[in-house]
């Protein structure tokens, strides 16, 4: 139950992140299984073969199964983020409807799921205000919210917002599929800046959600850009730190330039975990964040310019097989990272020699006293 003290904007923002957070395991597991199915079936077979007929098709349809939960789960947990536990079922129904399960021409995918989740959250929040006489209060969560909540949610979805939402989704999908040349590059720049801005935080997740929504609509170009834009920040910093160490430029303190930290950065780059860049950005945000954004934006723009597509939703270099063109992907990644590297080396000031000496491990964190 989000407290009443929060503003509506903050409440919805937090709810959206909650939805994405619970959705990610389905998307990542499902998406990578789908991509593996294609790999085993040499990119043709699985989608036309029934489940179980070959190993490739089995893996493919397992992934499809998990992926099909993406929209219901995001809707369910957006609703949960707004109105807590009783909203899960109502939201999940709304997300299920966004997938147009009975083919009435109301498919609204990921966008529909988001709207359905917010709607369900506020419906349940309102229903929770119903006050019944003492002894009957338990009827609200056990009976009224599921029945009345689902009825309102379902009717609003079908009679009111289903058609406009599916029209909106179709329009956005067409726009995205028609993007080419300069406008695609511009999209890449915006996407890259958002991905690098907070390195795995709220703004980054909005950009990631966009790439997932595109994937849901069978457009795999934004996901390729998403990979590059998420991987260049740690990679660019890692190269810059290595160069600084080799050439004695003294740009980072002892902890930042330690081999442990550098290994962490490379892990982040390989596994697509942008968060490894955070400590460097927190220490010197005004110089580091612009350098990261410029590198990511360059990499993402190149990704669109090269026409790259990526069919897996996460996994960094471990899922290269799901790309349409590995050499060009690596080229875009390295150019983006080098832009970050060059900017970092140019912008960063020399550190105080004292900070460079050794890392004093004085505070062992932890230890919550029980």
């Amino acid at each position: 139950m989000a407290s009443e003290k929060q503003s509506v904007g903050r409440q919805i923002q937090s709810a959206l992140l909650t939805g994405v957070s619970y959705m990610l395991p389905f998307v990542i597991g499902g998406g990578i299984l789908i991509a593996l199915g294609f790999l085993f079936g040499t990119y043709q077979v699985p989608s036309v073969e029934p489940y179980g007929s070959t190993f490739a098709s089995t893996v493919f349809w397992l992934g499809k199964g998990a992926f099909s939960y993406m929209v219901p789960i995001v809707a369910a947990f957006i609703a949960y983020g707004i109105a807590d536990k009783p909203a899960i079922a109502v939201g999940m129904l709304g997300g299920f409807l966004a997938g147009d399960p009975w083919g009435v021409g109301q498919a609204s995918g990921f966008i529909g799921g988001i709207i359905a989740g917010i709607l369900a959250g506020y419906i349940v929040l309102l229903l929770k205000k119903i006050k019944l006489p003492k002894g009957f209060e338990s009827i609200v969560p056990t009976l009224i919210i599921p029945v009345v909540g689902m009825l309102i949610e379902g009717c609003l979805m079908f009679y009111v917002i289903g058609a406009p939402l599916s029209a909106l989704t179709a329009a956005l999908t067409n726009w995205l599929n028609g993007l080419a040349g300069g406008s695609a590059v511009l999209l890449g720049i915006v996407q890259g800046c958002m991905l690098a801005f907070d390195m795995g935080g709220t703004v980054n997740k909005v950009a990631y959600a966009f790439a997932l929504a595109a994937m849901d609509a069978n457009n795999f170009a934004p996901m390729a850009a998403n990979f590059i834009g998420s991987m260049t920040p740690p990679l660019g910093i890692a190269i810059a730190v290595l160069i600084s160490n080799k050439m004695g430029l003294h740009k980072w303190n002892a902890e930042e330039k330690s081999s442990g930290s550098i290994i962490g950065l490379f892990t982040g780059a390989i596994a697509m975990v942008t968060e490894y860049a955070i400590p460097y950005a927190v220490a010197d945000p005004l110089r580091v964040i612009p350098a990261l954004m410029a590198g990511s934006a360059t990499g993402c723009a190149l990704s669109y310019a090269f026409g790259l597509t990526m069919m897996a939703p996460h996994g960094g270099l471990f899922v290269l097989f799901a790309l349409n063109n590995v050499p060009l992907f690596l080229l875009a990644l390295i150019i983006g990272a080098l832009v970050t590297t060059v900017l970092l080396l140019a912008l960063k000031k020399k550190v105080d020699p004292e900070d460079e000496v050794e890392y004093l491990d004085d505070d062992d964190e932890d230890d919550d006293e029980e």
């Binding site: 003290k5 992140l17 909650t18 795995g200 935080g201 709220t202 968060e275």
Partner: protein
């Protein structure tokens, strides 16, 4: 002074733990007792008990995503300080403002 906190972020692998450490450090620096529950990708760790919540002077919520098991904090709303994980990582002392 006894400070407790709950941290969570969307992916649950980095901000959650960095924010928890920022809170722990800020409290240690002032000599306060502290316990921070993390709600990351692996689930809840260092779970706050009823006694912890009852004994706390300050409850810090550094969360981007909905806190699991929010019902525990009912009745203690006036001790709760809300902040984003990003905010506490950048400026740990802001939890005492």
């Amino acid at each position: 002074m006894y400070v407790i906190g709950v941290t969570s972020c969307a992916t649950g692998i980095a901000h959650t733990y960095m924010a928890a450490n920022a809170i722990r450090k800020a409290c240690k620096k002032r000599g306060y007792k502290v316990k921070v529950e993390t709600q990351g990708a692996v689930g809840v760790e260092h779970r706050l008990t009823e006694e912890n919540i009852k004994a706390a002077d300050l409850i810090v919520f550094a969360n981007d995503v909905q806190i699991t098991d929010m019902g525990r904090f009912k009745g203690y709303e006036d001790k709760i300080k809300r902040i984003t994980p990003d905010g506490v990582i950048r400026n740990p002392d802001s939890i005492f403002d």
